[in-house]
Symmetry: C2
Subunit: 195 residues, 2 copies
């Protein structure tokens, strides 16, 4: 029990995900290869197939883990932030943190190559967006109650708009390598929701 080792943590399989996650967020799913991961990890391509039989399975595992972490982050925001506006700001900060690592949101970049993804990955991308929008809609509703947020229309629609805006802001800011560009868009978004 000396090591920081949770139950069911194989080591290599997780490190594969770590490397692949970074690669997909920077280059996209179809623009990295087993060879890239193998080289970086110091094992052979063949060994990777032991952990993930094919690239489609690796892709699924990537989204699943990413979505779980994101979910956890949302739980933590709900726990740590009092009012709805602070939650929304923390949510935008999640995105800013990704961009700060010169990455794109995984599901945002996967949305761009959606038509070429395996069906299982497509479903998971949609599921990710849906879950985010549910959370955002709930925040919007509570924001109307506690008076920290204002908007017109259905909260579900506004939630979609928020998600789209943040994804778009990352998409466009990254080629410029300009975090301020994202921040400006995020501030503008929050301004539009200020009572």
């Amino acid at each position: 029990m000396a090591r920081t080792r949770n139950r069911k943590e194989s080591g290599t399989a997780e490190r594969v995900l770590d490397i692949a996650e970074r690669l997909v967020q920077i280059r996209g799913f179809s623009n990295f290869s087993y060879a890239d991961i193998a080289t970086e990890l110091g094992i052979t391509k063949a060994s990777l197939h032991y952990h993930y039989p094919g690239k489609a399975e690796l892709g699924q595992a990537l989204i699943t883990r990413y979505a779980e972490r994101f979910s956890q982050a949302l739980v933590e925001i709900d726990r740590d932030r009092r009012d709805a506006r602070a939650k929304l700001e923390a949510y935008a900060d999640l995105y800013a943190g990704v961009l700060r690592n010169e990455r794109m949101c995984m599901c945002g970049i996967l949305a761009a190559e959606y038509q070429t993804l395996p069906a299982a990955m497509q479903s998971e991308v949609i599921r990710f967006f849906d879950e985010n929008q549910r959370w955002l809609a709930a925040v919007l509703v509570s924001g109307k109650s506690d008076g920290t947020l204002a908007y017109t229309g259905r909260p579900e629609d506004v939630a979609q708009g928020i998600l789209s805006t943040l994804e778009g802001a990352m998409l466009v800011a990254r080629p410029y390598g300009d975090l301020a560009r994202f921040d400006a868009a995020a501030r503008q978004l929050l301004n539009g929701l200020t009572p």
Copy 2:
């Protein structure tokens, strides 16, 4: 002079661009091949290299033509629409039209795979965004004059936000195959700019 044929229109080269344009806007630049174009056009891969020596050159030609057409569309908007708000609505309609064809904005999808693009293509993507933002900023300024638009902050920053929002709305709406999703985001954006 009987035919609709402008000077300097080789035919095949343009048809190659037409096919490649559709493919890149649906699949992305790295997810289509010379073979795809050749099959659809009914000629061989080798023949394509006569028109575009390499994929990098084809990619440059794609963006250049796309940006020129977009520029023309902006000129037409300036010509046909009186007030700034109507111009902005027409601008959003441009995007909706692309999405209606189940496509993504070419430079939006290229932004997603930016890190893997040839340098010449990267510059052209940035140039496209810059030009759009210049046009949007001018519309915003005139909108404050004619009283049809309201916003706070620098028009350049708001212009960035508008571009980002529309690109993001396309990016997220397309996997859902839901045009209404885009429209909701666009309306929300315009609402936020209403005096």
